[in-house]
Each structure stands twice: as C-alpha cells, then as structure tokens.
C-alpha cells in the first residue's frame, strides 16, 4: 500500500497540515461540515421565501404567509454540509515531459494531487480521484474515510502518463457520471483545443460544479530556451515532428503561448472557474497555499 511519504516530503506535509479549503459556492454534501449545502431543508438558518410551484412538498409551505396574503410560499433554509471534491489528473503523454532541469511534469502533478487529497481529507471532506488521457482511466468516487486517502494515493502511485489528450471529451463524459455537485480540481497542462475545453467546462458549471484548473507548466514550455537546431517530436502522436531552428521561432512561440494562456484565463473567468498556473521548478506547497489564500479572501 502506498504511503503519503512516497509522494510528499515531510516538509510538504508540515506545510500542508491545517490548510483550510473553502468552497466558494454551496456544496452538496452528506455530512455537516464547514461548507454550506445547496440542499434546502430543515436547517436552522433561513434562506428565503419563494412562490410555490407544482411538485414542491406541501410540508414546506409557510402557512403564516398564506394566512396573511392568501398566497402559497415555500420557506427555504440553508443547510451546512461537507465538500465533495474530485481531483481530475491528466495522465496524457504530454504530462510525461522531462524538462532540461530534470523535473518531470507528471511527478509534480501527482504530488499536487496527493497534497490536495491530503488537505481535503484532513478537514473531513469527501475526496475522489479521476485519472484520464483521452478517456477515463481510474474513477474513485468521493469518500471521507482516511483509508480512502490511501486508496487514492495507491492509484496515483500506479498511474503512468501516456496516450493522447482529449480534455473536452473526458470532461463531458465526467459530467454524466458525477451525479452530485461538487468541486472539480483539474490538474492538467490543458494542451487541448481551448474552445472545446471551455465548452466542456461550461457544461460542468451548468451542473453546479465549481471548477479549479491547476495548469501545469515546465519552465522550458514557458521560456523556450533551446538554441540549437532541434527535432521536436510530439509526445502524444508518433507521426508529428518538426525540425527547426528554435532561436528563429522563439519570439513567435512565446507570442502564441501568451495568447493561448490569456484565452484560457479569460474563458475560465467567463465560466466563473479559477485557473492556477503551477510551474514545476516552483515549490508545490507554496503554489497551493497561495491559491488557498486567494480563495479565502474571495
């Protein structure tokens, strides 16, 4: 059985312990916790009145208002529930990139996934894990038990990157499988068609999911530091290669990269989703902490 220390160092664990994770929107949960539930029920915290529509339970009618105004209103209450967070780990071939400094993107992604799972489990939230390339590979539903964390870590330990990316397809499939609303944490380099990806994100958002995208970068992909002639081979397709002088194309590449990132940020903002860039040569926990601090301020 995999242990947390296989993926995270003791220092990481010290820094991650006690980090609260807040969901910005109401979560559908099955136990009372820190997060507000979208289910309106018999909680003590009144939420609102709304007009009765056919199909509403009769027991939730507010008879006092009917007595005063001769109209039917339903009385709604907020209910605190725990968080259902699903970590979506992109395991496509592009995540296997080993940078010129020796770091492997997928290693970093696995650490991030482990760190998130550890933090969420620690605050009694339900955590699930999905690994995928152009299709779903592993699907671990959300649970709150501590033993469930080991199951997740096991799966992470076993998973290897490979295959093509088709984020949009995977997210649409996922939409049909996730019955209850929750927090989706996508760990991916997002090397897919941005438009289709955003469409899929839109679908998930309509289902009430909150989405955080941890976009993973190697420093090479951001700086394009190559100077000698190079043959660039696609990590996901065997028949795609380019022989070129990197120095000659660098400026244009950086321009295209900038546009790609800006489009993605803008599209996700439209869908009220967050994008957190993670760079493999930066400390993992620092990135997570910085993001959580941002969420708490919001």
């Amino acid at each position: 059985m995999a242990k947390l220390s296989d993926l995270l160092t003791a220092e990481d664990l010290v820094q991650l312990t006690g980090l609260p994770l807040f969901a910005r929107t109401v979560m559908e949960g099955f136990s009372t916790g820190l997060h507000a539930s979208p289910h309106k029920g018999s909680s003590v915290e009144f939420r609102q009145h709304r007009p009765y529509v056919q199909g509403d339970e009769i027991k939730r009618l507010d008879w006092k208002i009917f007595g005063r105004s001769d109209r039917f209103y339903i009385r709604e209450f907020d209910e605190e529930t725990n968080l259902r967070a699903t970590i979506l780990l992109d395991s496509s071939g592009s995540m296997a990139y080993r940078g010129t400094k020796g770091t492997i993107k997928y290693e970093h992604a696995r650490k991030l996934a482990a760190a998130l799972a550890y933090v969420l489990t620690g605050q009694q939230d339900a955590v699930g894990l999905v690994t995928f390339d152009d299709k779903l590979r592993d699907f671990i539903p959300c649970r709150t038990k501590t033993s469930h964390l080991h199951h997740i870590l096991d799966t992470l330990q076993r998973s290897q990157p490979g295959g093509e990316t088709s984020l949009a397809t995977v997210l649409k499939n996922l939409a049909s499988r996730l019955k209850r609303r929750g927090l989706l944490m996508l760990i991916s380099d997002c090397f897919d068609d941005a438009e289709r990806l955003l469409q899929a994100v839109g679908v998930l958002r309509k289902q009430g999911h909150e989405i955080i995208v941890f976009q993973l970068w190697d420093r090479d992909e951001l700086d394009f530091p190559f100077s000698r002639w190079a043959r660039f081979e696609n990590m996901e397709k065997t028949d795609d290669a380019l022989l070129l002088d990197p120095a000659a194309i660098r400026q244009r590449y950086l321009q295209v990269l900038k546009t790609f990132r800006e489009d993605l940020v803008e599209g996700l903002r439209r869908h009220h989703a967050d994008l957190v860039p993670i760079i493999t040569d930066e400390p993992l926990t620092e990135a997570v902490k910085a993001y959580l601090a941002l969420r708490m301020r919001q």
């Binding site: 071939g93 592009s94 995540m95 990139y97 993107k105 380099d189 090397f191 068609d193 190697d218 992909e221 190559f226 000698r228 002639w229 190079a230 043959r231 660039f232 081979e233 696609n234 990590m235 996901e236 397709k237 795609d240 380019l242 022989l243 070129l244 002088d245 120095a247 000659a248 194309i249 660098r250 400026q251 244009r252 590449y253 321009q255 295209v256 990269l257 790609f260």
Partner: protein, 717 residues
C-alpha cells in the same frame, strides 16, 4: 580584374565556414519530446514563410562576408575600368640622374640602361591619357623635352640618345624645375619619380641631414605629389680616374717645356699595378709611362712636354685599365705664344743694385734671360719711368705693372684705363713713394676707378715683433692654386714688416692672398675685359722679403700669365657647360666649324651680344674631350681648341647603403623603392588599389550591418 595580393584570395575559402556551421547545426540536431506541439505549429504557421526566406538571406549574407573580406585584402585592380577614358590617369614627372656614374658597367647592364628599362616599364604601365615629363638631374639640370607629353612611347626613345655624361646631381635645381613643371601637368594625380644610382658623392649632403628646400616646397603644395626614390644600382665599385691635370704655366712660349702634374685617383678596393699612362698632344700620343696605385688612394705624376706650334694646344693625360673609360682621360688647353709682353712702370729710381722698384720683377719674369741661360722666357719685359708714359705706351703689351709709382697725370690714367678696358692686365704694387690721397681720389674714385679697393693707412710690425706672414690657407684663385701643393714652394716663408691696409673690398673685388694679421695682401677686380690686381707690399725688398723668396718667381710668372691669358680659352671646362669663343671683328664675317671629340662637325654662325662682342657658342658639350673650332672654308685658318672634362666627383662609385637611402627618403617625405618591381607594387597600390577595395569595404560594412539586422529580425520572428 587583377589582384595585387592574389595569395590572399585563398581567404575566399572562408565562405565555407558559415556554410559548414549551418550544415553542422542542421545535422547535429537534438531531439526534444515536446508537449505543446499545437503552439509550435501555430507559431510556424504564422511566420513560416518569412523566417525561411530570411534564414536563407542570412546564410547568404554570412557566406558573403568572408568573400568580401578576402577580396578586400587581395586588393583587386579593376583594369578594365582604368582603360575607360578619364579613369586612372596619372601625371608622372621623372627626375633622372644622368650623371656619368650612371654609365658604370655592372651585372645586367649599366644603371643608365636599368633606369631606362625601368622607365620604359613604368611608362608602359600608365593608363591612356596620362602625361609625363623627364628632368635630367645631372648638372646642369634640364628638361629632356621642352614640355610634358602624352606620347609616352616617345620618352624611352628620346632617352636612348641621352648619353648620361652630366656632372653630379643638381638636386636643388632639378626640384626647382619640377616645381615649375608640375602645375603644367594634366592630372591632379601627380607623382615625382627620382631615379638614381644613389652614390655617396651625390647624396652624402642629404643623407647627413642636409636640406633640399625645393623638395620641401614641393611637398608643401596644396596637393603635393607622391615622391618616390627608385634605385638603379650598379655593382661596380672600382674605378680609376684622372681627376686633374695642372700645367706648370698658364701660357708657354713656343719650344718651351711645360710640366703637367696629373692626379690619378683609384676609387675602390682594388689595387692597380703598372697601369699605362699616356700623354697626348692634340690627340696624338707623345709618350707613355706606368704607375701603380694602391686601393682608395691617389697617385700624382708629373709629365713634361714641349709644344712647338703656337696657338691653343690640347694636352691629354690618359690612363688605361678599368671598365669605366669615360673618366680615364683629362685634357687641358695650353696657350702657346711666341711671347707675353709685360710693361713695368717704376716709381722713383734708386741707384743701388736691386733697389729699383722693378728690379726684382724683371728677374722674376725673365729668369732665364737674367741668368743668361739658353732657355727661353715666355715673358718679355719692358721698363719705363712713370713720367715717360705717353700715348700708346701700352700698345703691344698684355700686362702692365706699376711699382711704387707716386702718381700719374690724368692723361696717363685715362691711357691706363683704356688699356685695361680693352682686356689688358694691370698689377699695382705699393711703395713708400705713393701719394695715397691721389690714389684714393683718382685711381679708386669711389669704386669706379682702376684700384680694386680703398686704403686705410699702413700696417707695420714694430721692432722685436714677429713679422707678418701670408695666411696659410687653401687657395682658390687660379694664379695661386699652384701653391696649394705642399711639395711646391712656400709662400709662407715671406716676412712682411710694412704693408698697405686695404679697405672696402666690395663689389666684384676679391682678395687673392691674405696676411695673418687680417689684412689682404693681393686684391683683384675685373674691369671691362681686363683685370687689375693690387698688392699691399712693395715689388722690392723694402717692405718684405717676398721678392727674395724663390716662390716670388712662379708667383709673379703666374700672376702675369694669368692676366695675359684671361681672355683666352679656359684651360678646361666641365662637360655640359657652354662653349663660347669670342671673335674679332674680322673673324665675324665667316661661319665656323666645330669638330667634337667624336669627330662630328657642327656649323656655327657668329652672333653679337648686347655689348657688341662677336662670339660663337655651342651648348652640347656633354662628351668629354677636345673640341676644335675653325673658320669654315679657310684651310689655313687658326684652330682654336677647347677641353671639356667630366666632373671628377662622379668618378667615385661608392654606393649608399640601402638602409641609409630608405632613412633619407623617409626624412625627406619620399618613399624608397629598391627595384622596379617594388616601385611597381607601390605604384599599383597607390594608384589602383584604393579605387577597387574601397567599394568592397563599403559593401562589407553594409553586409555586417545586414547580418546583425537579419539575426535580430529572425530571432524576433
């Protein structure tokens, strides 16, 4: 197109370097397994076409840079361009050393031949439309052609006829001619080429720090010409030369023996043993002797000969045995006369023997007659008291001598002046009876009279003091040069106790002899066609013991014969100087024939100068030897002879070391070329190189900027 440094064209291969780097870069590709390929595709899609074109352009620029650099360094010459009218025209002014040392034989010919060939090549290398001029720099400097010419092929032909027999280089005169010539030349690209054998004797002055003002002036012009020294070398260093022949007398009587002192110089390290020396009279060999001369030394030998025919006789001393024969002979003209008449005018008579003012003079001028020997004196003297001078007293005399004459009357003075004006010679000895005031007023007459200078009292030596002596110095006056030779008699033995102090020696007057007390002893002044010599002492033993000295005889003989022959042909002249013969009124009626040393006859027509003197002249006297002048179509007419000799300074063939020439050239602002090849290289670089490599260099700079620009542009792509 040709190249001045073709070896540097090998640098063209450097164009392979960027090409190889490019190919190696493409070959040594690294493989990168890459994730965001869609970003690379997008980047390439946007800039693919431009980048490829620019990369190829950059490669072409990088290949071109070493090619342009190699071409620049190889100094291309666009010869095709220079053929076009108006391109690459040059004005070349040649200062050619035509001193006779250029005739010295050597391996590969004489310097004269080499210089001529070098010039032929240089002129052939000039482009069409160029002009050239040649100044012959040997003394006297002159132009080869009266004006510059664009007919460059004619110059070498003209130089063929130039014998190169001139005297030492007259550089100052030659550069002055160059200064006058350069502004007349057609193009602004002017070049002065000095071609010489660079002998020490010609260049020592400049090599040892002397200046050449005419060259400095030339280089200070607004557009100074390029000046190059080109050497035409000779490997001959040994040379024998007869440097002078000095006759014992200016004039001899017919049948009188004359001694000829010949100096034969051995220039160079070779010793000459038993070299034959010949004495020739009017071209016929009279006698021969032999002489041995050590290296770098001189031999003096005396030959005597008796001339039996009156008139101007030519005597030549000739030496045999070396490879440069031009300076092996030296000729002089000896005037042979029946006699020279000298009138002695004495002052107050003394009764005792040898106390008369002219007694010593009579003995000195007619020693054989005085000694009652059978030998013949050339001078015949006549003695008169000064009161006895009448009209035409001087007729028939060539020289008159006044000795201690108190004063003359006006008529006598006029008679005397006319005598000197006609060409007579006058010697005035001082004496105690002289009326100094009269001499000052009438004979000096503020410089217009007969006396060469004024008086400023008497000089004397007190009792017990050392007597005054004749200053021991090198004499230059032809009447006195005889006493320069230490083996001759000593004038310095004469002791003077009294003398006249001469003053105001100015104008044409010049001292001939000086006393060691700072006063002049003899002063000479030309007057009309004649000359006057004033002597500060007496002609007898009253004031000095000079008349008692043996030297008094040759001194007076030489002074008198010098004055008697002053209008005769010079003993010898330097080649290149003008032959001029004065003619009497009767002689002017017919034309004259001049036979030169090569026996070629030229016809000369008498002319008259501004003073009405009739003369013939002839300037082409470069060939050394005897020139004979006689009236045309007159078989029995008198033959007048003229001797022309080469300047003995040119006989020393000791060459300057190359380094010394180079240093001198650098100091004078000129460039030195040791050979025609070196000069041609210099010339090509200066005339053509700049025009071809400058555009290439400009293109190279543009390409370097283009490379940087493209590199930046591609990296931004």
């Amino acid at each position: 197109m040709s190249f001045l440094n073709p070896i540097l064209l090998a640098g063209l291969a450097a164009f392979l370097i960027p090409l190889i780097i490019h190919l190696l870069n493409k070959r040594k590709v690294v493989t990168v397994r890459w994730g965001p390929m869609h970003l690379l595709h997008e980047a390439l899609r946007q800039k693919k076409r431009n980048v490829k074109v620019e990369q190829k352009l950059l490669l072409a620029v990088r290949i071109s840079i070493p090619i342009l650099l190699a071409l620049c360094l190889a100094l291309p010459v666009l010869s095709a361009l220079s053929q076009l009218p108006g391109f690459d025209k040059t004005s070349l002014l040649v200062l050619l050393d035509n001193s006779f040392s250029m005739r010295a034989p050597g391996t590969g010919g004489t310097p004269r031949d080499k210089a001529r060939n070098d010039l032929r090549q240089t002129l052939a290398g000039l482009s069409r439309g160029s002009d050239a001029s040649v100044i012959l720099a040997g003394a006297p400097a002159r132009r080869l052609l009266p004006q510059t010419t664009t007919d460059l092929e004619s110059l070498p032909t003209r130089l063929e006829n130039e014998p190169s027999l001139s005297g030492p280089l007259a550089l100052q005169d030659a550069f002055q001619l160059a200064q006058a010539e350069l502004p007349k030349m057609a193009t602004a690209a002017r070049e002065v080429l000095v071609v010489s054998d660079f002998k020490w004797s010609d260049w020592r002055h400049l090599s040892e720090g002397g200046t050449l003002p005419a060259l400095e002036g030339l280089l200070k012009q607004e557009h100074p010409p390029l000046v190059t020294f080109l050497r035409a070398p000779s490997d001959t260093e040994s040379n024998l030369a007869v440097v002078s022949v000095e006759p014992s007398a200016f004039v001899v009587a017919r049948g009188q023996a004359i001694a000829l002192r010949a100096r034969i110089q051995n220039h160079g390290p070779r010793a000459y043993q038993d070299v034959a020396v010949h004495l020739e009279a009017n071209g016929a060999r009279m006698r021969s002797t032999r002489v041995s001369i050590a290296p770098n030394s001189e031999s003096v030998l005396t030959l005597s000969h008796t001339l039996d025919t009156a008139g101007d006789q030519a005597v030549t001393v000739r030496v045999e045995g070396d490879s440069l024969p031009d300076d092996n002979a030296f000729s002089v003209i000896i005037p042979v006369r029946e006699q020279v008449n000298c009138l002695l005018v004495r002052g107050k008579s003394r009764s005792g023997p040898l106390e008369g003012a002219t007694d010593f003079l009579e003995i000195a001028l007619t020693p054989h007659q005085s000694a009652a020997t059978t030998l013949k004196d050339v001078i015949r003297t006549g003695v008169v008291e000064h009161q006895s001078i009448r009209d035409k007293s001087f007729e028939g005399s060539e020289v008159a001598i006044l000795a201690n004459v108190e004063r003359l009357n006006d008529r006598q003075v006029q008679e005397l002046e006319e005598f000197v004006q006609r060409g007579g010679g006058l010697v005035i000895f001082a004496g105690p009876d002289m009326d100094l005031r009269w001499y000052q007023e009438k004979l000096y007459n503020k410089g217009k009279g007969l006396l060469p200078c004024s008086f400023n009292g008497f000089g004397h030596v007190d009792e017990g003091q050392t007597p005054a002596r004749i200053l021991n110095q090198r004499h230059t006056h032809p009447a006195i040069t005889y006493f320069n030779d230490a083996r001759g008699m000593r004038l310095q033995d004469a002791a003077f106790t009294h003398w006249l102090k001469f003053d105001k020696i100015e104008g044409e007057a010049r001292p001939i002899l000086n006393l060691d007390r700072g006063d002049a002893l003899m002063v000479e002044k030309p007057l009309g066609k004649g000359r006057v010599i004033a002597v500060a002492s007496t002609a007898n033993a009253q004031w000095s013991n000079l008349p008692l000295q043996p030297a008094f005889v040759p001194l007076m003989q030489r002074v008198v014969t010098y004055l008697a022959t002053q209008n005769a042909a010079p003993q010898s002249q330097l080649c290149g100087s003008v032959l001029r013969a004065s003619l009497g009124t009767q002689q002017a009626k017919s034309n004259y024939e001049l036979k030169d040393p090569a026996s070629q006859v030229k016809e000369l027509t008498p002319r008259a100068d501004r003073d009405g003197v009739i003369f013939v002249d002839y300037a082409d006297t470069l060939v050394p030897g005897i020139y004979e002048l006689k009236a045309k179509d007159s078989p029995g007419a008198e033959v007048r002879r003229f001797a022309f000799n080469l300047n003995p300074d040119e006989s020393n063939l000791d060459p300057m070391p190359e380094e010394a020439i180079r240093t001198m050239a650098q100091r004078l602002g000129a460039t030195y070329a040791a050979s025609q090849d070196e000069y041609a290289r210099l010339d090509r670089t200066r005339r053509h190189g700049a025009e071809a490599w400058q555009p290439l260099l400009f293109a190279l700079i543009i390409f370097l900027f283009a490379e940087v620009f493209l590199q930046q542009r591609i990296s931004r792509a």
